[in-house]
């Protein structure tokens, strides 16, 4: 899981913060910190599906699953356990 956490972190910092993490923490809300816009959510979902072999349904698209690194790790773990 640590590897996933690092990968996710790198993806978010590369794609949404363009390398400028500015003390960005794993528990920080993407929405509150203005890290992603509406397109960003879809980029994030595409990344999850391509890299972790999971399928993200419309019902999964909620901030509780996708709004921080910590939430994402928990969400991926649950999805992987299910599959």
């Amino acid at each position: 899981m640590e590897a996933i956490e690092q990968e996710l972190r790198r993806f978010v910092i590369d794609n949404f913060l363009f390398g400028r993490d500015n003390g960005f923490k794993d528990t920080d809300s993407f929405l509150e910190r203005g890290i992603i816009d509406s397109t960003g959510v879809l980029e994030l979902v595409a990344f999850l599906e391509e890299n972790y072999g999971i399928s993200v349904g419309d019902e999964d698209l909620i901030p509780e699953n996708l709004d921080s690194i910590a939430n994402l790790v928990r969400f991926i773990r649950t999805k992987m356990d299910v599959s």
Binding site: L17, G19, R20, G34, D37, S38, L42, E43, L61, I62
Partner: protein, 644 residues
């Protein structure tokens, strides 16, 4: 239409004519037909002329009969015929048939109060020798530009900043607060410009300089307080039509032929229709087309042209064209832009000029005053939703509003709510209507360099904007507040400048705007909001007023905002290569580091995203266009500017 420049020496120590000449020649594109200079010990006035009214006798700077008043004037006073008649009855005599001479005589008669009598678009400097007083003024809505600075005991001014920069006493430095504002609001807040210590005279203001004292006053205000006066639709539409017809009629006053832009939408079609009924000669219309159907409106343009019987010309605009002309566009806008939309309009004015036209009517201004933009509908839906935040149905209206935005269609409610600020606590925010746009734009600041971030520090853009609002603002309804923000700031700061005056005058073409006749604007302010944006039907009263003067399909069509291909324009698809050398040069780590505005590493990542075809969405797009145009701005004006 013309270009002006001038110098006032506070000590009366004389004016350097060669410098003044250099200043006005820097805006020579605004007036290729003639050049003139007046200078005494105190003041120098310069002028480049685009001859439109009384070409033979309208040379400028112009004086009154006894030479006690001198003026350099850019623009048009459309009601000059009526004013001249009144002045003649009062005993004034005229040597020319120009509107400029009417301004001189009106000033003789009314002093600075003359401005309230003008119906037009102007920026001028008038030197009252007897009083030792310089009078600068700009039109109500900010159609024509005027910039100024103070240096070494002098006031330096001009139609464009580049002419001010020619004066050797003027520093060239980026105003970082302006950068912060532009990367939030899309515009800088007047009088601030993108150059430190160079100001613009705000629309609807005048400045006087007398006995070394400078004073600035507003002479007109956009005011929605009188709303609810015109509550009956039928008479209201009739009155509006009368005003629009008259606004168009007086905007056809010209000694050269007048054409029209025809975008295929309601506003330009109406203007063309009204102009058509006033001319026996064939009316020529002009438009831009795009290969990409997402942006193209040519089918509607052709239909409107056929219906209105115009001779139509269009110019195709590709991604490569946008990238090719973009450096020239930024040279003319004199500030960064977050959209490429000015580029096709720059090409369009080139086409107009090529066809031998100097003057075009356009439909700008209607969306601001009649509730036409999507942002107005969006705010209305957001307010409706924020009152019941748990509603599952209300947010669906947002998806209906943007059927062409695929990403938005897939958004879950929780995200929509956050992105669109549809929370109860947002409702009382004075900028509620614009929060989503401005917050999204603010995200672009992630690219700012550490030095810029620390310089900007705790500056608060909203706070500065808040200080500029009139006291009545809080009492206005949502649409009026949003309309005020658009009309007061985005209209002059972007639509009429970067997409208007600057890119049309780049090819010596004058735009005229019937919807911005102040009588029309004042009347629009007095119409209840529900008659402008009726439920979610934009410009309802205007559509009533249009009647059968335009094709039914144009009246009924879903409004398509004018847009152009953005960041993708600068890279070849597939190979990811930059289309032109300047793009690689200005976005290189070296140039970004040298100019110091942005972080080189962050810019490199963004550029790679575009090269790989992975960039998507508005934020990436605005980021690339904003960064590239800022780099071009620094290249043109800070690093590479020469006075010659």
């Amino acid at each position: 239409m013309c270009g002006i420049a001038g110098i006032l020496d506070f000590k009366g120590g004389g004016i350097e004519r060669d410098i003044l000449h250099g200043m006005v020649m820097k805006v020579g594109h605004r007036g290729p037909d003639d050049t003139g200079i007046y200078a005494d010990r105190h003041v120098g006035l310069a002028h480049v002329r685009l001859s439109i009214i009384d070409p033979d006798r309208g040379r400028q700077p112009m004086r009154n009969e006894d030479g006690s008043l001198w003026i350099t004037f850019n623009g048009e006073i459309f009601n000059y015929v009526e004013l001249r008649r009144e002045l003649t009855a009062l005993g004034h005599t005229f040597a020319t048939d120009t509107d400029t001479e009417v301004v001189l005589h009106m000033y003789e008669e009314k002093g600075e109060d003359c401005l309230r009598h003008f119906n037009g678009q102007w920026a001028f400097a008038l030197w009252d020798r007897n009083r030792g007083r310089l009078f600068l003024s700009r039109d109500r809505l900010g159609v024509r530009p005027l910039f100024y600075t103070f240096t070494r005991g002098r006031l330096i001014f001009g139609s464009e900043i580049k002419s001010v920069l020619v004066h050797p006493g003027v520093n060239r430095e980026v105003d970082l607060r302006a950068l912060d504002q532009l990367f939030t609001l899309w515009v800088t807040l007047p009088p601030r410009t993108f150059f430190k210590d160079i100001m613009e005279l705000p629309p609807a203001h005048y400045m006087t300089v007398e006995d070394g004292k400078v004073s600035m006053r507003r002479y007109w205000q956009l005011d929605y307080t009188g709303e609810q006066q015109n509550t009956e639709e039928g008479p209201c539409a009739e009155r509006l039509k009368e005003l629009l017809v008259d606004a168009t009629r007086i905007r056809l006053r010209s000694d050269v032929p007048v054409g029209a832009y025809l975008s295929g939408g309601l506003d330009s079609s109406m203007v063309t229709a009204m102009a058509r009924s006033y001319t026996n000669a064939s009316l020529e219309t002009f438009s831009v087309t795009f290969g990409d159907p997402e942006y193209d409106e040519s089918a509607y343009q052709q239909e409107a042209s056929r219906f209105l019987g115009t001779v139509h010309h269009d110019i195709g605009c590709s991604c490569e064209d946008i990238a090719r002309v973009f450096p020239d566009v930024v040279w003319h806008t004199e500030k960064p832009v977050l959209r490429t939309a000015p580029a096709p309009l720059y090409m369009l004015s080139g086409l107009v000029r090529e066809k031998g036209y100097k003057v075009v009517l356009t439909g700008e201004g209607s969306d601001e005053i009649f509730g036409g933009y999507d942002i107005f509908k969006e705010a209305k839906i957001r307010r409706f939703w924020a009152k019941q935040p748990s509603s599952k149905l209300r947010p669906l209206l947002l998806k209906r509003l943007y059927p062409y935005m695929n990403n938005l269609q897939r958004q879950p409610l929780g995200y929509l709510q956050a992105f669109f600020h549809a929370r109860r606590e947002d409702l009382s925010h004075p900028f509620f209507s614009h929060l989503p746009r401005w917050e999204l734009t603010s995200r672009l600041k992630v690219f700012f360099s550490d030095a810029v971030r620390s310089e900007i520090g705790a500056c608060n853009v909203y706070e500065e904007l808040g200080t500029l609002l009139p006291p009545e603002y809080q009492a206005w309804d949502g649409l009026s507040q949003a309309g005020y923000l658009e009309t007061m700031y985005l209209l002059p700061g972007y639509i009429l400048s970067s997409q208007g005056d600057r890119v049309s005058m780049a090819h010596s073409v004058e735009g005229r705007f019937p919807f911005l006749d102040h009588r029309v604007v004042e009347f629009a302010c007095s119409i209840p909001s529900g008659m402008k944006l009726r439920v979610l039907n934009e410009k309802h009263i205007l559509k009533l007023c249009a009647g059968d003067m335009i094709p039914p399909s144009v009246k009924k069509r879903h409004k398509q905002p004018y847009r152009a291909p953005g960041g993708v324009s600068f890279f070849e698809p597939g190979s990811g290569r930059a289309r032109f050398e300047y793009i690689d040069e200005l976005l290189s780590r070296a140039a970004v580091g040298e100019f110091g505005i942005f972080n080189p590493d962050a810019v490199e990542r963004l550029v790679n995203k575009f090269r790989k075809g992975l960039a998507m969405g508005t934020r990436d797009d605005m980021s690339l266009v904003g960064i590239l145009s800022t780099q071009l701005f620094v290249h043109h004006f800070i690093k590479g500017f020469t006075g010659s």
